[in-house]
Amino acid sequence: SQQGEEDPQALSIQEGENATMNCSYKTSINNLQWYRQNSGRGLVHLILIRSNEREKHSGRLRVTLDTSKKSSSLLITASRAADTASYFCATDWDQGAQKLVFGQGTRLTINP
């Protein structure tokens, strides 16, 4: 199965601290994407990193990708209450069907 896994499943930190979430996957990929899902809402795309990239930044977000370990991390710096959400990684498979496979997500809670 191509299924990705996020770690930890849940994370609770104080506002202002940094949050790090990890994602592991099983197959070779073209891209890895991170999405955020607020409670009761659809997913929102955060960042896409290609298999030939190692690090990417977007505002307070920093994503790394290690294809040798088949893993990625999402760092949110200076967290805010509004960052409270579930975060999902999604991968494709460079040899397979044209679909994204999502992990089960990390539930992030930012405490004021």
């Binding site: 990929i29 073209n30 891209n31 994407q33 999405y35 899902q37 009761g40 809402r41 659809g42 997913l43 929102v44 795309h45 896409l48 579930s86 999902f88 494709d92 460079d94 069907a97 044209q98 679909k99 994204l100 496979v101 999502f102 089960q104 997500g105 539930r107």
Partner: protein
């Protein structure tokens, strides 16, 4: 200015009924998707269409029938609803097919089968 919209937002129905969920995107995308998210937040692709053509049918029971009247719409019809169909169903769209880029998700339809 909703990019991807779904109706209804909530759907409560009895086992055995037939129901439909509608999805529309105004982004000009040519690929649309249906996903199912279960109670454990596990999100799984069900179908994808590219320019009204079925691309992915992810071993979904044939009680589920997608229909794309045009590339801006992808509806999902479910026959003979079962308890296990209870979930949140998300529509999404993208420019081109995976792996070309990000997907834009609708707000979801929470289906409860009693």
């Amino acid at each position: 200015d909703t990019a991807v919209s779904q109706t209804p937002k909530y759907l409560v129905t009895q086992m055995g009924n037939d129901k439909s969920i509608k999805c529309e995107q105004n982004l000009g995308h040519d690929t649309m998707y249906w996903y199912k998210q279960d109670s454990k937040k596990f999100l799984k692709i069900m179908f994808s269409y590219n320019n009204k053509e079925l691309i992915i049918n992810e071993t979904v029971p044939n009680r589920f029938s997608p229909k794309s009247p045009d590339k801006a719409h992808l509806n999902l019809h479910i026959n003979s609803l079962e308890l296990g169909d209870s979930a949140v169903y998300f529509c999404a769209s993208s420019i081109g097919q995976v792996p070309r880029g990000e997907q834009f998700f609708g707000p979801g339809t929470r289906l409860t089968v009693l």
